[in-house]
C-alpha cells in the first residue's frame, strides 16, 4: 500500500504493508524517521524554513514549514509507540539553483532550520543527501524500514541506515 506524501505534507504509519513515498524534492526537504523496534515510521516533505512567514498558513498546514512540520513528524510517531532514542533519521533534498546565494537559497535555509532543531533536541541523522542541483525521491517501507532514494535520471539506491 503506497502512501504518497505530497509537497507540504506528512504521513506516519505502523502498517507493515505501507510504503511511504515522496517525490521530487527540489529545494524542499524530506525527512524520514523509523523506529525498528515497534516498526513505526513517517515521512515529512516541507517547502519552507520558518512558519513566521505566514502563521495563518502554518496553522492551516504546519507541514509546509520546517519549524512546525518537524516536531509534528516526531510527535505523531511517538503516538504510535516510537521512542526518540531508537529513531533512525534520513534527510534528503535542499537542492539549489546554480550559484543561488544568501537569503534566496531556500534549499540551504530549509536544511539549516532542520540542523538547528536537531542540534537543540539532540537528534542525530543516520543518512543525509542534501544540496546540489538534483531532484530526489524517497521511499520508506514500514515492515523492515527499508529506505530507497532516487536522484532523477538515475537508478534506485538502497540507503544503509538500519
Amino acid at each position: 500500500m503506497d502512501l504518497v506524501v505530497g509537497v507540504g505534507d506528512m504521513k506516519v504509519s505502523n502498517n507493515p504493508e505501507a510504503v511511504i513515498i515522496t517525490y521530487a524534492l527540489g529545494s524542499c526537504i524530506g525527512v524520514a524517521i523509523y523506529d525498528p523496534f515497534v516498526k513505526v515510521g513517517g515521512v515529512l516533505h516541507y517547502m519552507l524554513p520558518e512558519s513566521s512567514l505566514d502563521p495563518v498558513k502554518a496553522g492551516n498546514n504546519p507541514f509546509m514549514f520546517g519549524d512546525t512540520g518537524i516536531p509534528l513528524l516526531f510527535k505523531e510517531s511517538y503516538k504510535l509507540g516510537a521512542v526518540k532514542n531508537r529513531l533512525k533519521v534520513i534527510v534528503l533534498g535542499g537542492a539549489q539553483i546554480l550559484d543561488q546565494g544568501g537569503l534566496f537559497n531556500i534549499g540551504n535555509r530549509n536544511h539549516t532550520v532542520l540542523r538547528k532543531m536537531f542540534w537543540k533536541n539532540n537528534i542525530t541523522t543516520d543518512f543525509e543527501d542534501v544540496g546540489g542541483t538534483v531532484n530526489r525521491t524517497l521511499k520508506l517501507g514500514i515492515k523492515e524500514g527499508e529506505a530507497i532514494m532516487r536522484i532523477s535520471g538515475n537508478e534506485l539506491r538502497k540507503i544503509k541506515w538500519i
Binding site: G6, V7, G8, Y23, A24, L25, G26, S27, C28, M47, L48, L53, D54, K57, N61, M64, A95, Q96, I97, L98, D99, Q100, G101, G102, L103, F104, I106, G107, G132, T133, V134, N135, S152, G153
Partner: protein, 285 residues
C-alpha cells in the same frame, strides 16, 4: 550529432491549427482586441469545449457552471480566457512522458501550466499589459524538450558529467554534447509555427533573463523567476533538476525579496490541488 536531423523532428509535433494561429496572432498584437478571440473560437466546437472545461475547473472557483464563451469571459475576463484557450490547444504536445528528462506522463504539462500561472500572477503584480502573450510564452517555453528528450536519454551520462565536473548548466551541457539546447530548439519550433518575434525571443532566452528585447520589458525576468520557483518546489522535477544559472539581478530588477519568494511559494501551495485538476482537464483530450 546531426542538428539538422533534430530540427527536422519539429514536424513530428502536432501542428498549430488554423484557429490556433489566428488566436496566436491576436494575443501577439498589442493593437488587437482580445474580444476578437470570441469571434475566432465560436466556430470551433472542440476548442470551445476545451475552454469551457478549463474555465469550470476548481482553479477558477466559479460558483456557477459556465456554458458559453461569452459567459466565461464575463466571469473570468479576457486574460484568463486567452490563457485557457492556449492551454486547451497546446496540451496534446505536452502530455506524453519525456523519458530523457525523466518526466512521467503529464509531468511536463504540469510544469508548464504551473510555471505559466505563476508567471501570470507575477506579471499582474508588476502591472504588465501583455499578459496573454507572456502566459503563452511561459506555457510553451519548454516545447524544445519534447524533441530533445530522446537525444538527452542517449547522451545523459555525458551531460551529467559536464554538470557535475565542470559546473555547467544543464542547458549548456545540452548544447555541448548534443549540439543544440532545448531553448534554442523551442525557438526554432516557434519560428516554424510563425509565432511573433517577441515570443520567439522569450522562448530562446527563457534561461538567460539578462537578455531583453526592449529596455523596460520584464517578460523574460518574470518567466525566468516563475520557472525558478517551479524548479525549487520540484513541480515536474526531472533529470535536469535545478542545474540552471541563478541571476540575483532579476530579483533586484523585479524588486523581489526573499520574503516575496517564500510567499509566492506558499501561495502556490494553496493552489496546487486545483492546478493539478486543471492540468488533468486541459490535458485530457
Amino acid at each position: 550529432m546531426d542538428i539538422d536531423k533534430i530540427i527536422q523532428k519539429i514536424d513530428s509535433l502536432s501542428p498549430v491549427s488554423f484557429t490556433g494561429s489566428r488566436i496566436m496572432a491576436i494575443i501577439s498584437n498589442p493593437n488587437s482586441s482580445l474580444s476578437e478571440i470570441v469571434d475566432v473560437i465560436k466556430y470551433d466546437q472542440v476548442m470551445t469545449a476545451n475552454l469551457l472545461r478549463i474555465c469550470n475547473s476548481a482553479y477558477f472557483g466559479l460558483r456557477t457552471k459556465v456554458v458559453s464563451v461569452r459567459q466565461a469571459i464575463a466571469y473570468l475576463g479576457m486574460n484568463n480566457i486567452a490563457g485557457a484557450v492556449m492551454m486547451g490547444h497546446f496540451s496534446k504536445n505536452f502530455t506524453a512522458a519525456q523519458k530523457g528528462y525523466d518526466l512521467g506522463e503529464g509531468e511536463l504539462w504540469k510544469y508548464s501550466v504551473s510555471s505559466a500561472l505563476i508567471a501570470k500572477s507575477l506579471a499582474e503584480k508588476q502591472r504588465l499589459n501583455n499578459i496573454p502573450c507572456l502566459f503563452t510564452s511561459a506555457l510553451l517555453k519548454d516545447i524544445g524538450k519534447i524533441i530533445l528528450s530522446t537525444h538527452i536519454k542517449e547522451a545523459f551520462q555525458k551531460i551529467v558529467l559536464c554538470v557535475q565536473n565542470e559546473g555547467m548548466t544543464f542547458l549548456d551541457a545540452e548544447k555541448k554534447i548534443i549540439g543544440i539546447d532545448h531553448a534554442e530548439l523551442g525557438a526554432r519550433v516557434a519560428e516554424k509555427w510563425r509565432f511573433s518575434p517577441e515570443m520567439v525571443f522569450i522562448i530562446r532566452n527563457h534561461h538567460d533573463p539578462l537578455k531583453i528585447l526592449l529596455e523596460d520589458d520584464l517578460s523574460i525576468p518574470i518567466i525566468y523567476l516563475a520557472d525558478t520557483i517551479c524548479m525549487m518546489v520540484g513541480i515536474g522535477g526531472g533529470a535536469d533538476g535545478l542545474a540552471y544559472r541563478y541571476y540575483q539581478e532579476v530579483m533586484s530588477r523585479l524588486n523581489f525579496t526573499d520574503i516575496d519568494l517564500q510567499k509566492t511559494i506558499a501561495d502556490f501551495w494553496g493552489q496546487i490541488k486545483a492546478v493539478e485538476e486543471m492540468v488533468n482537464m486541459s490535458g485530457g483530450n
